[in-house]
């Protein structure tokens, strides 16, 4: 009997193994999830709640027992006290743009050149990456593949993590342009005085070029029609029209955050988000007053200075919330680590952020910054049914156990390469 089971299992595994699971078909039937604690992503919790969606749209979300679908042809799942969350959103990463970090051939996020505004990360996005299923099986369902290098790095897009190809992965194409803002006052740890001077010179020069690039782009945009088209300048137009967001990466330096924001505002850029790290709390008031939102990164990093509070990083979300800054939390750059996004939000809770605010920080608040909040990021009637079910608290490793996930109502396969490998070798040893 056991042998037989093993055989069946091996056959199944064999068919799946080393394959990324197939994307789910569109939702054909209504689905009712009941008897769950629903966190809607905007601070509202429904204990013993219910959610019903059809054709990928949420029809009802709220208390249990108050809703009856119009049709009788729907499936119903009793979640027995599990939690429902909006699909988490991981901004600014290289998921799908890298397969193996150390293998150059598999890296597609760092182009040569300084001003690459026309680059589109979306076309390099490999929806069939082995890594993607491992990320979504922890509840991260939406991502923002973004280019890494240069000063103006190129354009990002927003994708959902269950697709046949990059085209049908698109949630929002070309949502923004990434800028690595040069921090004049910082140096590499390896630099001696001479190298420091050179670095500063280079950065100043770059800043000058950047100024020119932005002012030329602005003029190009205002000119309207052109005899000769300039792809780089043209791509910048969306920043001035307000179609695109300028995402500015400034890691640790509060001074550079101020400089960067003022730089962008000078050119009349409407939507600005700082992808900033450790010391944003120092300039929290400035960020609030300038109406700039923040993508908080580096939640898993050491404080900048030896004298900083040991929990300086972990408590920053709570401090920013208190100061009224619009922010979301991202996992740092990278691809495999994106599956830990829920846990960095959990860390923020351990250090003072309220639980529902932590959920928002990786769902609705991120959607707002990415400009997809009308449809994604929260569980509200009329929005996309992009959500997942976890038997326990999804922000805690001890509770995060995703049993169901839906993207636009499609019930996605939660299997992945790693689960298959585990299964294969567990079988070998005859362990569970």
């Amino acid at each position: 009997m056991i042998r037989c089971l093993v055989l069946i299992f091996l056959l199944c595994a064999g068919s799946l193994f080393s394959q990324v699971p197939s994307p789910a078909a569109p939702q054909t039937k209504g689905i009712l999830l009941k008897n769950a604690t629903i966190h809607n992503g905007r601070g509202v919790v429904f204990e013993k709640g219910e959610i019903y969606f059809e054709n990928g749209k949420i029809i009802y979300v709220g208390e249990g027992g108050k809703f009856e679908p119009e049709t009788s042809d729907f499936s119903e799942i009793d979640l027995q006290g599990s939690h429902i969350y909006p699909g988490f959103i991981a901004l600014d990463n290289t998921l799908g743009l890298t397969e193996i970090g150390a293998v150059r051939a598999s890296r597609d996020h760092s182009e040569v050149g300084e001003f690459n505004s026309s680059l589109r990360s979306i076309i390099a996005y490999n929806s069939d990456s082995d890594v993607i299923p491992t990320v979504r099986s922890n509840g991260v369902l939406i991502s923002q593949p973004s280019p890494s290098s240069g000063t103006v790095c190129g354009q990002s897009s927003i994708v959902q993590l269950d697709a046949w190809n990059w085209e049908d992965a698109i949630v929002k194409e070309g949502d923004g342009i990434f800028l690595n803002y040069p921090d004049i006052n910082s140096y590499g740890w390896w630099m001696d005085e001479k190298q420091k001077a050179e670095s500063k010179k280079r950065k100043l020069k770059n800043l000058e070029k950047l100024e020119k690039f932005f002012s030329d782009s602005r003029a190009y945009y205002e000119e309207g029609s052109h005899k000769k088209e300039n792809l780089s300048l043209k791509a910048m137009g969306g920043l001035f029209s307000g179609d695109k967001t300028l995402y500015i990466r400034v890691d640790d330096s509060p001074k550079a955050m101020i400089d960067a924001v003022q730089f962008a505002q000078k050119f009349g850029i409407k939507k600005i988000a700082i992808r900033g790290g450790k010391n944003a709390y120092v300039v929290a008031d400035f960020l609030k007053e300038s109406n700039v939102s923040l993508i908080l990164s580096k939640m898993h990093s050491n404080p900048s200075r030896n004298e900083d509070d040991v929990d300086a990083i972990f408590k920053q979300p709570a401090m920013l919330k208190k100061a009224g800054v619009d922010f979301c939390i991202c996992y740092d750059r990278g691809y495999t680590g994106q599956r830990n996004l829920p846990f960095v939000a959990g860390s923020a809770v351990a250090y003072g952020l309220s639980y529902e605010d932590a959920i928002s920080a990786i769902s609705y608040d991120a959607a707002k910054i990415a400009g997809i909040e009308k449809n994604y990021g929260s569980l509200e009637e009329g929005k996309s049914a992009t959500l997942f079910v976890s038997t326990g608290d999804a922000l805690d490793m001890l509770g995060n156990n995703v049993t169901h996930a839906f993207i636009d109502g499609r019930s996605i396969d939660l299997n992945n390469k790693q689960k298959e490998l585990a299964r294969k070798f567990s079988e070998k040893y005859g362990i569970e």
Binding site: A350, D396, F425
Partner: protein, 1004 residues
């Protein structure tokens, strides 16, 4: 002609002798012979015979290069040149023991493309280019009279100069800064031998780290001994030859920084060598651990400059440690001297040599007794070199001294003359003008404020309405003045005058040719001087006992005491058969005394309420690279000889941060740059103790091995395709080769040791090889391997290698494909210490899975979860929890993966890793289930000492804030003060992340 004995002879005999030594009979003279033998007599000055003896209004008589009399006033002998120096002071020439005066510059060859494995020096030298013990400074010495003038103005007149290049640097020459020929300069051609930890101009790959430098030095000392004993059977090696020839010379060690002094001193102790260390100015920060280090420390006096802190945002970039050091650096000499450490001074490190005297005076202002300062400059270096006739003004000593116009420690004193080997050198010095000050200039109907001179300058500046500068040109000295002022409307007025008591008087000419008298009448000293007077107040500095260690935030002035305490009612994760229980834990003398329900302890035992909390043993990180100044010695494919213990960095803030995450111990591993890395250091986080104090006593010795992409340099770029091995096939052969050689090495020694003592004398003894000794220890199961590994094939290979040589692999670390060979590992007896969920960062980890720890655990392998990352380590509890999430491991088993299991893998489970009677009281009190994301360590104990608690931490934060605020205010006040007109711009250093692959050295 080393000095001392002259002293005992009579003056007459001395004269005779001096005559002999002074002549340069063999040098042909182009002209008429000009030997003079004149006696010089210097009268009226204060003679500083020695640091403790001075004679006012004394007489100094010298002839040729010797002092023939120094003492109470005495009439000049007939036929001598007599000079009067009332009010002047005479000091013996200062001695600088770390100089490269007259040395050619070390040539840094072109950087080589790709690795350089072998030595390239031309000649029969050591295999390693950094071992240059054969160098002789005197052989390349070329006098540089121009360069010496600047040095002479600082008071230094004798220097120990050497080719400061390499780890063993050869001999240094003791040189007087004589204006004559190179021959005349040399006092002792080979006066000392130099060492350092810096390979200098060598381009050879090995050593490429501090670790390797120390190991090479150690091996070289052994090689030298072996060479000496077996010379006749060995090829000539000029470098080892020289080490033996020079073995009795005093040894100077350029250490750069307090930690390297400590480290070099440890090596010195192994070989019975007392080095004199050349420091870097921060030694006071480690007084406790530097007391008694070698023969003392030569100190530079380059104090850090103030930062420009006006912009609070960039001001953040300065660290509290930098601010603290800025404040206390001038007290370095004081603290060391007070602690009984023999100190000396060097010009090395100063931006300008003329900064020396002001810096020295500052040291005195900060408490260094004048006599100690003088001793440090004269008798201390002289006695280190066993030279009795320098560094003092005693009869018979060398006539090397300088004359200053006052007490050297007065800020205005300058050195007028420096006598070297009895030859006078007058020095051009910028005088502080006595007439400098604030004046009123009165001519015609005008009355203008006028400033004469700023510090050391002779400029003139007039002001209209006392505040607006008027265009003024001109200069003054203490006798006369001439200048012109130009008014826009009226034109140019010219003035020329002379000194009249406190004022100047003279005539002026206006633009129209008319003129008259003017007076410049003195009103007061320039503000500058008032400021100086204020600054001259004795600075308030903390007493030595109050200096924290680590020097900086969260530092301690003493270790927390081992209190007796009882934590009651907590959920105790015992890691024993008892499992998780609600119990009391009683701690006494650093050990767990009792565990049980409702323990009854005397009232004197401190109570800690553990209700609702969780108590666990401290987390042990099996794979860490924190608290190290160097991680990889990648210069060779095996670096078994390097020891992490040599480079432990006890000030690493990572320790404090990890204590706040419940981590209490770690194995500090070599990196993974080569198949055989270095020997581990296993430490407890005894924050505040010395490097040696962190080490766990009697821990079994471990060593790092590594497999895969790192050791084959797969990701090191296209230049690194030379070093063997470049494939996994080659990696196996490296091991085969090493273990074979180690076996032969053992046999060689065995057969050598079995020889009769007579035949031993003639036989070639085997070379003591530190690398093979470590390998042999492994082979004999006396040292244990932690092997960086990923792919199943290589894991299996190494187990088979071990089995062939009769030992076992203790631990595979990272072991990301351990789940594929867990059964083989179990059978072999290897443990696995893994990452929780890292993967896909390299090709070799494409099959890594987060279920790895769970599968290995279920198969029966001892599994630990490690960090390899200073940040992740402070939340290892969360990493362990992933074994629950991904593999369904029980919470208690997951918890063991970061406590008991790493203790087992490190052979420490007889005292660590469990909450059990008799075990070390390394405990953590958590506010929550310790595996939860919401868990915070509220208290962390190491050996029963409370090394971290949330309450103490809050106090620390307030202290840090207050201290920072105070120092920033102090620095803001100083900016623009004397000598620090332009503040340094604070800069932000990007964070350096240290892991397995980090190359280079770091102290931060």
């Amino acid at each position: 002609m080393s000095g001392g004995r002259h002293f005992f002879f009579s003056v007459f005999f001395l004269l005779f002798l001096s005559n002999l030594v002074f002549g340069q009979e063999n040098i042909p003279k182009n002209g008429v012979k000009d030997d003079r033998n004149i006696t010089y007599v210097i009268q009226g000055a204060t003679l500083h015979i020695s640091p403790s003896q001075s004679i006012e209004n004394g007489t100094l008589i010298l002839k040729n290069d010797r002092i023939i009399y120094s003492g109470q006033a005495k009439a000049a002998p007939k036929g001598s040149v007599e000079r009067a120096f009332e009010g002047a002071h005479i000091y013996p020439s200062f001695i600088d023991l770390y100089s490269s005066f007259g040395m050619p510059k070390a040539e840094k060859g072109k950087p080589s493309r790709g690795p350089q494995m072998e030595g390239t020096r031309r000649g029969p030298y050591n295999w390693n280019d950094a071992i240059r013990a054969d160098q002789q400074a005197f052989a390349v010495f070329g006098n540089d009279p121009k360069g010496s003038e600047k040095i002479l103005s600082t008071g230094f007149g004798i220097v120990l100069t050497s080719q400061n290049d390499g780890i063993a640097r050869g001999t240094a020459a003791l040189v007087a800064l004589d204006p004559g020929s190179s021959n005349e300069c040399i006092i002792t051609p080979e006066a000392a031998e130099g060492f350092s930890l810096d390979k200098g101009s060598s381009k050879q790959d090995y050593p490429n780290s501090l670790l390797g430098s120390i190991a090479l030095l150690r091996q070289t000392f052994y090689d030298a001994k072996w060479y000496q004993a077996n010379k006749k059977n060995l090829d000539f090696d000029a470098s080892l030859e020289a080490l033996n020839t020079n073995s009795s010379l005093p040894k100077v060690f350029r250490a750069k920084g307090k930690h390297n002094i400590y480290r070099a001193n440890n090596v010195g102790k192994e070989f019975g060598i007392d080095f004199l260390f050349v420091g870097s100015g921060n030694e006071y920060q480690m007084l406790r651990d530097l007391k008694g280090a070698g023969k003392g420390i030569v100190l530079p006096l380059d104090y850090p400059k103030a930062f420009d802190l006006n912009d609070p945002l960039t001001a953040r970039n300065t660290s509290l440690t930098e601010l603290m050091h800025w404040e206390l650096a001038p007290a370095n000499a004081f603290y060391l001297d007070q602690a009984g450490i023999s100190i000396m001074f060097t010009l090395e490190g100063l931006e300008k040599q003329s900064d020396f005297l002001p810096a020295l005076r500052k040291a005195v202002e900060y408490g260094l007794p004048r006599s100690s300062a003088l001793k440090a400059l004269t008798t201390a270096p002289a006695s280190f070199l066993n030279q009795k006739d320098i560094g003092n003004l005693k009869q018979g000593s060398r006539a090397n001294f300088f004359i200053s116009n006052g007490d050297l420690f007065d800020s205005k004193t300058i050195i007028n003359e420096h006598w070297i080997n009895g030859k006078r050198k007058t020095l051009k010095q910028v005088l502080e003008l006595e007439m400098a000050g604030e004046y009123r200039l009165k001519y015609g109907s005008r009355d203008l404020k006028t400033l004469l001179g700023e510090k050391g300058k002779n400029g003139v500046q007039c002001f209209q309405n006392d505040t607006t500068k008027v265009s003024t040109k001109g200069s003054f000295d203490d006798n006369s003045i001439s200048f012109s002022i130009e008014f826009k409307e009226e034109g140019l007025f010219r003035f020329s005058g002379w000194k009249a008591e406190k004022d100047f008087k003279g005539n002026f000419l206006g633009p129209d040719g008319s003129g008259g008298d003017f007076t410049l009448s003195w009103t007061k000293e320039i503000d500058q001087k008032e400021k100086e007077a204020k600054e001259g107040k004795k600075p308030v500095i903390p007493s030595a006992e109050d200096l924290p260690f680590p020097f900086g935030p969260y530092g301690l002035t003493s270790m927390p005491i081992q209190e007796e305490f009882l934590i009651s009612g907590a959920t105790v994760w015992t890691n024993t058969e008892q499992g998780k229980v609600e119990a009391d834990v009683w701690v006494k003398d650093g050990k767990i005394y009792k565990v049980g329900k409702d323990l009854e302890a005397p009232g004197s035992v401190m109570r800690i309420d553990g209700k609702g909390k969780h108590l666990t043993s401290g987390i042990i990180d099996e794979h860490s690279h924190i608290a190290l100044s160097s991680v990889n010695e990648g210069g060779q494919n095996s670096s078994a000889e390097v020891r992490m213990e040599d480079v432990v960095f006890p000030e690493s803030i990572a320790m404090y941060r990890q204590l706040s995450g419940g981590v209490t111990a770690a194995q500090l591993l070599h990196g993974s740059a080569n198949p055989v890395g270095g020997q581990s250091a296993i430490i407890k986080f005894r924050w505040g103790s010395s490097a040696n104090g962190l080490l766990i006593n009697d821990a079994d010795p471990f060593i790092k091995f590594a497999l895969g992409e790192n050791v084959k340099q797969s990701n090191w770029g296209d230049l690194n395709t030379v070093r063997y091995p470049q494939t996994r096939m080659g990696v196996e052969q490296v091991y085969e080769d090493l273990f074979t050689r180690a076996g032969e090495y053992e046999n060689e020694w065995k057969s050598h040791n079995s020889l009769s003592s007579k035949s031993k004398r003639t036989a070639l003894a085997p070379r003591k090889d530190l690398e093979l000794e470590a390998i042999l220890e492994i082979k004999n199961s006396k040292r244990f391997i932690t092997c960086h590994s990923y792919v199943q094939s290589e894991i299996n290979m190494l187990m088979k290698v071990a089995e062939r040589y009769g030992f076992r692999i203790n631990t595979f670390t990272h072991i990301l494909e351990g789940y594929k060979v867990a059964d083989i590992m179990k059978e072999h007896g290897a443990g696995g210490s893994t990452f929780s969920d890292w993967w896909a960062y390299k090709f070799e980890v494409k099959d890594a899975i987060p279920y790895n720890s769970a599968i290995m655990d279920k198969v029966g392998v001892t599994v630990a979860v490690n960090s390899d990352d200073s940040e992740m380590a402070r939340r290892l509890n969360q990493e362990a929890a992933k074994a629950v999430k991904y593999g369904g491991v029980s919470e208690e088993n997951a918890w063991k993966m970061i406590t008991l299991n790493p203790a087992k893998l490190l052979h420490l489970d007889d005292r660590m890793g469990m909450v059990k009677e008799g075990y070390d009281a390394d405990l953590v009190l958590w506010n929550n289930n310790p595996l939860s994301i919401y868990a915070r360590a509220e208290k962390t104990y190491v050996d029963g000492r409370c090394m971290y608690s949330e309450e103490i931490d809050i106090e620390n934060r307030a202290k840090i804030q207050a201290e920072r605020t105070r120092l920033v205010q102090e620095m803001l006040k100083k900016k623009g003060g004397s000598g620090e007109k332009k503040g340094r711009k604070p800069e932000r250093k990007e964070e350096r992340i240290i892991d397995c692959e980090s190359v280079g050295n770091f102290d931060f």
